[in-house]
Symmetry: C4
């Protein structure tokens, strides 16, 4: 909420009960974006806020009929029977270190103003080949998540040191300092520039659907994400990353 | 109006009625600068403000007799029978993303203090060859412009994704967030460093003259811009771009 | 204590009497970190503060069981019979000039809030080969230190101009402007990326132990630092420098 | 006087009557530094202020006996019968554009607090060869200087566009916006890294001595600057530029 961020409210401020923030920002294979884009569409989440920033690319897209569109973050909400959610999805996330902190802090400040107590971030882990059924690894700020996530097949035993770069890590780390807890779901995906991490997205989606008891059928995910891959690339690409942070990867040269 | 910008007022503050801001900053082929420079001279617009900035090059030009001149933005006004105008022309525009936002926001803050409700930005679209009669493409923040501009030959159907970089895009995008609407006129021009985009400037000028009913004859434009090309280059160059933003171009690798 | 730094207090605020700040930040051969890490463990110093910063890498480590850990500074205190100490140790120190000043100033502000009047910084001086028993050179803001340090074998006669880069120098320089005095201990060490400067650390440790009359036996240092070299590298590495400042070195091309 | 600058006052605040600021910062051939260093020593000017900055290199020099010295600006004053002077000399000047503006503005703010109304900046113009008796070119913010300076041999007719980079230009340009007037003296000098621009310094010194009626004999300048060249290089070098701005040069590829 500092000067460098410009908040545009859309419609009435939603009344949310301890909403869970789910992050869908650009990154390796655009896994987080695909997952959150899918959830927004499938659950018909409602947009209530847009955020623009000096830390975003200084360029505008021309959309349909050349309508001008600035790079932005979008906030949606969705109320399931069990939980309220805030989805944050964006065209970009800053790659610069300082900007990445300021950007994550801004998201957390907005989250805090809605009394968010829990954060889920998503991401891809780079892999040279596209794995059809990638493992989903977890990371957390609070041990209490391990048990439940393990039951859903999430693993906490990846070899080698792992570093998570960008908002997927900072939202959890900085969030903890603000009294929010949370976890990350990370799945292996190819780093080829034009490939979408749909396999990774699929596996993460299944964990999320089960974890939160969302009314989405696993089979539908399989079918619909295949379609995204076939039909959507042109649309997806237009909204793609300008400045993705460096990938989430195991630092084998360190460990 | 933050600290990094230094405003120098010149003469009395002009009294303007809902003035239209027209942008003439450095860019591809210097199209915007040529157009606005032409309008300022032809309509004998009056300078009322200069703006200096920490985001500009840290150097001064030596002008005639070695008079020191810092890089600056200049604001002029002109009152036609139908409309009041503010022309903003500059030696530079920052290339850095953050600075580009801050710079555009500063121009908009000044515009707002004069109750500007409408913004027109101009620019070149890079082309490998110099097209004698380039097409003028439009972009907008408000659909209402399409019809009138189409009648003047402006097109809204360029193939491939288009990204407009720098103030030409941000002034419209950020302006919209401040309740201002507007459009951009973009024409193809060569990117060769020393060539001026006079062909593109000519076509854009004709659209502007017709759109706003300015008292300038099309024939004069043809003749006088040819002269600029012949006579002015030395003078023009001295005031040229230090740090032009990257060109406005179709991102064929994206679309 | 500016916005870019986030302070997390741990436990009760310790009551300290004119504590001496000892710096253990990443640098050439990680000499300072090894020394201060050793002192913290050996003297069982207590952690009372963590500091996070926008100037640190925008990434998180996954620790044991994938617990998320942000890069941070840690403050410990220790009370000997003769003196109270604050040890500051960190995963990183910013390499960027501006950030390096802001970072050093933040440490000094915290130090000041605990009434620190004296600062000791540590560092390696690059050498092509690993010297088994390196000379310890001193530097100071106040002449009064020379005599006592010379008695302990510290030398003040290195040939060629010397420049100390990063917090090891700035903490003393900026500290002096805040009324704190202090000295640096610098020892030659290899610059090979994976080698730890244990020889340099050992010599510096001996000076510190003698200077402050700490209850640590010289023989133990010899044995235990050998073990660090053998056993700890994996653990050490995980906490190692992201962005080490350029090394402390004699500028033979200048002098 | 913003946060990024740290002012250290030395002794009593001098009482000065409309002092003239003379700039002696690093640059091409260190011409300005040599001139102002000479004047400070010769006129026995008194130091009354030091300024440290986050925009300076994040390193300290080890001086005699390893005393720590941070890079700094120094302000001296001198009262002649006719005029009061403030000399500003420094180890560095920032090369980054934003920092260069902030730095120049800081100097001007200090100047303003002493009621400075007039500024003289100095500099070298790069030349491939070392010219024994270089021409001194002038630049100004106020025409009134031309006549008097021309009488002293200063010329205002250099061919080609000239750009002055860094504080030598900005102090005059930004100073004008604060109601101060002034001029620059620029002389050709070699750009070879290790050569000092003593020829250029000599010619500029003679102009200054004559312009302000200082009690320094031209012959002494000749002899003493020769000595600087012979004897001082080692001492000079130690205080030399970390980050010199790009040179003041004629942009023949533009004009």
């Amino acid at each position: 909420m500092t000067e460098e961020f410009i908040v545009k409210k859309i419609g009435k401020k939603p009344v949310l009960k301890k909403p869970i923030l789910i992050e869908g920002l650009p990154g390796v294979g655009n896994v987080a974006r695909i997952v959150v884009d899918y959830l927004i569409n499938k659950l018909q989440a409602k947009k209530f806020m847009e955020v623009y920033s000096y830390y975003f690319p200084n360029s505008v897209f021309l959309g349909e009929d050349h309508k001008i569109e600035m790079p932005k973050l979008e906030f949606y909400y969705y109320k399931s029977k069990k939980n309220h959610f805030i989805f944050v999805i964006g065209d970009v996330q800053p790659g610069d270190e300082y900007a990445s902190y300021a950007f994550s802090q801004e998201i957390l400040n907005i989250a805090k103003s809605f009394k968010v107590k829990e954060i889920v971030t998503l991401g891809g882990i780079t892999s040279r080949v596209d794995i059809p059924k990638p493992i989903v690894f977890g990371a957390y700020t609070d041990k209490s998540y391990i048990k439940k996530l393990k039951k859903l097949g999430v693993r906490f035993d990846r070899k080698g040191s792992i570093i998570v770069i960008g908002a997927a890590g900072l939202l959890l780390g900085l969030g903890e300092l603000k009294g929010m807890k949370g976890f990350a779901l990370l799945a292996e995906t190819t780093i080829e520039a034009n490939k979408l991490g749909t396999h990774a997205a699929k596996e993460i989606l299944k964990v999320l659907v089960n974890y939160f008891g969302l009314k989405i059928k696993t089979k539908e995910i399989d079918i619909e994400l295949k379609e995204i891959k076939k039909i959507k690339p042109r649309i997806m690409k237009k909204r793609l990353i300008k400045k993705a942070p460096k990938p989430t990867y195991p630092l084998t040269y360190i460990g």
